[in-house]
Symmetry: C2
Subunit: 496 residues, 2 copies
């Protein structure tokens, strides 16, 4: 019995093991397939990743072969490896990153090398016994001070790598134990190989399929505005229609793209930092106002926070809201969010084409302000005698947050306008026609009378005319409001 059970155990063990071995190729195959898929996806998401990898390989091969080629190798001695080391450590995804690291490394090595030589000379004055002690104290003090300086936010942002290399080179030179005249030769070799490595990286990153941090930042900010626009343009339709059909907005059909904006701060800041190291490229000049992009980015985040709050309200809209009340504010709310969306779309488009966004965006800003007024009138007109306040609250909150979004979008519009002036965007070719979206309606109504008020002299532009026309046209979309005055352009937003 005992033997039997042992034999059975053994048989079972081997059967199990064999099963596992048989299953192994299948599992391995599945694993390989999934890895291959994720590699493919990674490359497809951003093909520049593949290019970057090949560029690093190219730079390294070039420098390695130089190192391997005997004549040069003999000239530089062991220092040749510093070229390889430099390429590996310095080559970053963006041109700005590579330049920042290369220049930091070059200058820090030069400075620390000179200081290290001085320290060596100074320590040698203290004789054979005093030398290590003096050098030890110097290394300690300098390393501690330099490490502490890395906590300064400004140094951290721009010169962190330089300080690291400074500590490294100083320690290496100071304690290398060579004589000063030997060290000068060594330092020269090391510096020239580092420059060789750095220059290879810089040239390849600038001239072979360059990835400019500045351009990336520019595109990222524009695409963030577009994500907000996509949400806002679709919002009215989804929120008000879904609630009419099934009584609740589950928030499922809203585009969630804006969520990536919530945590975009750090990536935007690092891109802006790198962008400042880049030379002029394409449509961007050397002193492009990169810092200003961070301001627009912060405002876009502000807007995303408001959208997140709206999304929270919609998601929790469990109880049947008052459809009657919703219907009353539907027109103005839908128009507010749609016009905000159009403003952002126009701003994003003007950033992409680098043209002044003034006329196209301002029209929509004015429209959204008019819609905000409509909402106010709709709220005033809404009879609440038999309505339950708790039932109308969700929709009212959505309206209230939309008002905040309108204000936020106006700020974004101002910021993009500032950017267009700072960065000398091209002036838009003024088309003295009405907004291209709805000429037929205007023709039908026959009230196109460009009213020029006092303010228009300051902005002597046909744009003003367009504002007035669109504004005159606006009550058509807002169902609840017929009798209020046409808002004048340039008027301050009145809080709801």
């Amino acid at each position: 019995m005992d033997i039997d059970s042992t034999a059975q155990d053994k048989a079972r063990f081997f059967a199990g093991a064999w099963g596992r071995v048989k299953a192994l190729p299948g599992k391995l195959k599945a694993k390989v397939t999934s890895t291959a898929k994720s590699i493919k996806k990674l490359g497809q998401d951003d093909p520049r990743r593949l290019t970057h990898s090949l560029k690093v390989g190219l730079a390294l091969t070039l420098v390695s072969l130089l190192y391997y080629a005997r004549p040069i190798y003999d000239g530089f001695g062991v220092s040749g490896m510093w070229a390889v080391l430099t390429v590996v450590v310095v080559f970053e995804f963006t041109v700005g990153g590579t330049l920042s690291k290369s220049l930091n490394r070059g200058f820090a090595t030069f400075l620390a090398g000179a200081l290290g030589l001085g320290a060596d000379y100074f320590a040698s004055l203290f004789g054979k016994n005093g030398e290590p002690i003096v050098l030890g104290i110097l290394v300690f003090l300098l390393a501690a001070a330099a490490t502490f300086s890395r906590f300064f936010p400004r140094i951290k942002a721009r010169y962190d790598y330089g300080v690291l290399i400074f500590i490294l080179t100083f320690s290496l030179v100071a304690v290398s134990g060579y004589r000063v005249n030997e060290l000068v030769v060594l330092a020269h070799q090391r510096l020239s190989t580092i420059i060789m490595g750095g220059a290879t990286c810089m040239l390849i990153s600038i001239f072979v399929c360059p990835v400019w941090a500045g351009e990336d930042l520019h595109k990222a900010i524009a695409s963030n505005l577009e994500k907000l626009a996509t949400y806002l343009e679709g919002f009215g339709g989804v929120y008000f229609q879904s609630s009419e059909s099934d009584g609740m907005g589950t928030g499922k059909s809203f585009p969630q793209g804006y969520k990536s904006i919530l945590n975009s701060k750090s990536s935007e800041e690092s891109l802006a930092n790198f962008a400042r190291w880049e030379p002029g490229h394409g449509r961007f000049r050397l002193r492009h106002p990169w810092k200003h992009y961070l301001k627009i980015g912060a405002l876009a985040r502000q807007c995303a926070y408001q959208i997140e709050a709206i999304n929270g309200c919609i998601g929790s809209d469990h109880i049947q809201g008052s459809e009657e009340f919703k219907g009353k504010i539907e027109g103005s709310c839908t128009r507010m969010s749609a016009e905000c969306g159009k403003t952002l779309k126009a701003l994003a488009a003007s950033m992409k084409t680098m043209t002044d966004p003034y006329s196209s965006a301002n029209t929509h800003v004015e429209n959204s302000k008019a819609a905000m007024k409509d909402l106010k009138f709709a709220l005033k007109a809404a009879s609440l005698e038999n309505a339950d306040l708790a039932a109308i609250l969700p929709a009212a909150t959505v309206g209230s947050i939309l008002v905040e979004i309108v204000k936020c979008v106006e700020k974004i519009s101002e910021a993009v306008h500032e950017l267009s002036q700072l960065a000398h965007f091209e002036k838009e070719t003024v088309e003295p026609t009405v907004s291209p979206e709805k000429p037929p309606q205007l023709l039908h109504r026959g009230i196109i009378q460009p009213v020029l008020d006092g303010d228009s002299t300051a902005n002597d532009n046909v744009v003003i005319t367009i504002h007035e026309i669109i504004s005159t046209d606006s009550p058509e979309n807002g169902k609840a409001c017929d009798q209020h005055q046409v808002p004048k352009p340039g008027k301050k937003i009145e809080a709801l």
Copy 2:
């Protein structure tokens, strides 16, 4: 005349230059003073920065002196400098960071060294002329593949530095041009000096005033909850009282500490990443659920977004809101935010002491839910016949967002409770007394009758008793509601 004017110009130039030179010491002094002040502030904000700098200095001096001391130096050859290099590059602020980099560096060097030797041997088979070509191709392929792998989020998060060192070492070994038997000696020297440097860093960072990433993460999450609590506890008082006295809440006197939470994601993620490399320390065991902290952090950010939306509404509260309506919801809103604040305070305190937060926090969660019900009743009871909806909207929106915050705080409470179970927090010593904050009120009312309902058998705990008492007590604070039922513990939140 000409000569005169030239002389005058010269005199003016020199006077100006002298003025600038005289002003220089003053400017320099001011500059030095301001720099000294910012250094002092940097140190005072977090004294561990100073300690860290001294630790780096110490590690570097130790390794440098080892390198300087001739007997060891002669043993290791030029490779001794790798120890210095390792210390500079590997020493990070937190223990986790240092361990992650040291281990990455050690293993990557070992693996890449072995592979490099293999590559050298393989290339040597192709003869003198084929060798550089084969080596070049190998370096290119490996560098490109390894660089591409750095784009994988999982590799980026944990092994980024390791991959970098892998590329570096492989290239250096493969193209060094030494024979294989020379290389083995060199690799051995290099690896042992790297281990020496890494070990020095690890020992100093663990045993000299260690800064644990895990502890930092734990504290950061608890302090974020506290910041939210500070805002919410003070909110009701500031919002409703300021609007009563001067007609508008300018949002100026609200604590703005919560704003730092909005962008805390990246720092929390890097701390959690480092924490996983750390051994057990203090109250944290080896497999502490660090990932779970990120969940709580995300919920805290969600709550901060809602507060940001409230802050926006308050800031734009230009028009005189309906004071009558505000007065009606003041009681329940104040209590909602205060109880949310107390919940978060209790959760933060329980995290700090690492005790199970169940009883203390749950009491306040139940209270805030009761206040939410009160708000609903207050809204139902509010007569709106002669009220302007536009005037009550700001206050109503604040109420509506507070409801979202209550829900968010409940989720945070659940997440901290989960954490307390995963991390085996100590059970609270159950005190069968009522909540310590307001025993006098309870004594005055004389209705302390612990009602045990059916559910209480599941949670056989005196805690339940406390809930009931507090819940019974709750309408006292909500002015608008007297007749509604006492909410039972464990009931699901009913959406407003």
